[in-house]
């Protein structure tokens, strides 16, 4: 299942945030959307997940307009994890991960064998099996984020969209979350699209980067090809020197404001 946009114009009220966006999220790859604060990358991600209605243009999931398709059917093909979601803190890990099965269930069929197996798989993948009965309030930030990812995994979708999944996490947990996503991409062929602030982590984990600037797609492609000093300067409005990351051989930016003072 492919997801793509055609002539998408997005905004809030009368303010246009993004204009005439034509992008496709490559299948079975990790795509990372980058750009400065307020550039509309989250808005684009949310629209691709049908959470926001575009001012004009289309989002296609497979060969169907996403806004024409029944929402529950979309939920079986595409999962979205919004930024820092909230849930009652006395829910247990299991309570929450179970909700990922919602699109497959009905009042008469609330806990099929399949539901059980898939929730079991999601808990195991995210390393939460042993703490399934803990309450959310007892978890660390990284664990909590893994619970949400487990919930989207329980949705059993080919495509997973994540809006800043590493927000407010320590560097250790950032890597933990991104490694998990990389694993899901490589071992289960999931198509993953992430909005991420950190350009260096984006370069390390992305197969495909979409850089957004002034309401337009500034550049897209493999980080090794497109991430240049000019791109950093144009997109993030800061000077940078690009070197090769000694570990991952991906581009690495060292940013500076102004070396002359």
């Amino acid at each position: 299942m492919n997801i793509s946009t055609s002539n998408l114009t997005l905004g809030y009220g009368d303010v246009i945030v993004l204009k005439d966006i034509n992008v496709a999220i490559p299948k079975n790859k990790i795509t990372i959307l980058v750009g400065s604060n307020g550039c509309g990358k989250s808005t684009l991600l949310k629209t691709m997940a049908r959470l926001l209605k575009p001012m004009s243009g289309k989002v296609a999931l497979g060969d169907m307009d996403i806004f024409q398709k029944p929402s529950k059917e979309i939920a079986k093909e595409l999962a979205i994890l919004t930024q820092s979601p909230d849930a009652p803190s006395d829910l247990t890990v299991f309570n929450l991960v179970k909700q990922g099965r919602y699109p497959y269930q009905s009042w008469f069929n609330q806990w099929s064998k399949e539901d059980e197996n898939i929730v079991e798989y999601a808990l195991e993948k995210t390393g939460l099996s042993d703490i399934r009965n803990k309450k959310l309030s007892e978890l660390s930030g990284g664990q909590k984020q893994r619970v949400w990812i487990a919930m989207t995994l329980a949705q059993q979708t080919e495509i997973i969209l994540l809006d800043e999944p590493t927000n407010h996490l320590d560097i250790k947990y950032k890597i933990e979350v991104l490694d998990l996503l990389k694993h899901l991409n490589q071992h289960e062929n999931r198509t993953i699209a992430i909005v991420l602030h950190d350009i260096n982590l984006a370069c390390r984990y992305a197969d495909h980067i979409i850089a957004i600037k002034n309401g337009k797609v500034y550049a897209e492609g493999n980080p090794k090809k497109i991430v240049t000093e000019k791109l950093i300067n144009d997109v993030f409005d800061i000077n940078a020197k690009i070197i090769e990351c000694p570990l991952f051989k991906t581009p690495m930016c060292i940013t500076y404001q102004n070396l002359t003072i």
Partner: protein, 355 residues
């Protein structure tokens, strides 16, 4: 999976937490015990065994008259007012994603009072201060007042969909306006009217009879069934809207249906029992403390605990200063207010949501 009860047959499948099932059973027993207690205590003490005999067997004699025509209808009204308020509060707290929500916060109770006072104003004869029509029509007015208020709150909060935050803010404003109207009606009304109005606003089940039970019970039962059907949706409502839409839930539609169900439950309770406060707030809270925020636990338990609180409060209300029959609302508030303060203090330390 050891702590879960799972039932599967063909395409049917259900899941329930064992611990919650146990707590539910115990609560149900406590509730039944409270009802029996309420039937035996009063001006004349009737032993629980005698009460059971009267209920299931022998329905003649003086004791039977006391139980069947006075205590049983009153106790059942208290019970169903409590179950309705408990359930209404639980639903509302899920819909607005805030554990401090209660039917009175979004103006249901105060607007019910307006309805009741409009009735008293319209149908009191100023010459002799007597009612010109039957007092039995008062619940209809109270119900209309409460229900119209909820529709107003919903419409005013609507702006390309309704956000929980706007619902609460507008609810508080409407409740405030309703209070002002109540004051005007009381100040301008005849003097005898003040006592009747004050009693009603405090909330009382004094003088309720089988007619009230027949009005309230089917109403509660119907809405309880609707609520059970919507349990899964409430669990989804309790998450962030983005997540709920992402899971494929029709968030706006469900929010509207659940608001209406919550309002209808509370309006029914207010219509018969008056402005009883705090039951809708504390019953769901006690449930969360006993189980967790999953609604398959919270909903049935809130109803039972709400009912139990009302029945027990009414026992205290009519026996504490006997022969004075105090309005039960004093005692639900008497227990509820300190608990509310405790919750506020506790919430400062473990903040659940950002606002």
């Amino acid at each position: 999976m050891k702590n879960l009860l799972v039932a599967r047959k063909g395409r049917l499948s259900f899941i329930y937490e064992k611990r919650s099932a146990l707590i539910f059973t115990v609560s149900l027993f406590i509730c039944i015990f409270s009802v029996l207690l309420s039937l035996s205590i009063g001006q004349k003490y009737i032993s629980a065994i005698k009460v059971l005999q009267i209920l299931f067997d022998d329905s003649t004699g003086g004791d039977s008259l006391i139980v069947n025509t006075i205590r049983l209808p009153r106790t059942l009204v208290a019970l169903f007012v409590g179950t309705s308020l408990g359930l209404s509060g639980a639903i509302l707290q899920g819909v607005v994603k805030n554990p401090l929500a209660a039917p009175n916060i979004i103006g249901i109770t105060d607007s019910g009072s307006v309805g009741a006072l409009v009735f008293l104003t319209l149908f009191t004869d100023p010459k002799n201060n007597a009612l010109t029509t039957s007092i039995f029509y008062m619940p209809l007015f109270a119900f209309a007042g409460a229900f119209i208020a909820v529709l107003i709150v919903y419409l005013l909060a609507y702006k390309k969909g309704v956000t929980p935050y706007r619902l609460v803010m507008i609810g508080i404003a409407v409740a405030g306006a309703a209070k002002a109207i109540t004051s005007i009606l009381i100040i301008n009304g005849p003097v005898v009217f003040i006592k009747e109005a004050q009693l009603w606003i405090t909330g009382t089940v004094y003088g309720t009879n089988w007619t009230h039970v027949k009005l309230l019970f089917p109403w509660f039962l119907l809405l309880f069934i609707v609520t059970l059907i919507y349990t899964r949706e409430l669990n989804i409502q309790n998450l962030d809207d983005g997540i709920s839409v992402g899971l494929g839930s029709p968030v706006e539609k469900n929010r509207f249906v659940l608001m209406i169900v919550s309002a209808a439950l509370a309006s029914g309770a207010v219509a018969v029992g008056g402005g009883i406060s705090f039951v809708g707030l504390i019953a769901p809270h006690i449930c969360r403390k006993l189980t967790n925020s999953s609604f398959e636990n919270v909903l049935p338990l809130s109803a039972i605990i709400g009912g139990t609180i009302m029945v027990l409060s009414d026992i205290v209300a009519r026996t504490l200063l006997f022969p004075l029959d105090l309005p039960v609302g004093i005692f639900t508030a008497g227990i509820g207010a300190p608990f509310f303060i405790y919750l506020l203090f506790k919430n400062q330390r473990s903040q659940r949501r950002g606002y």
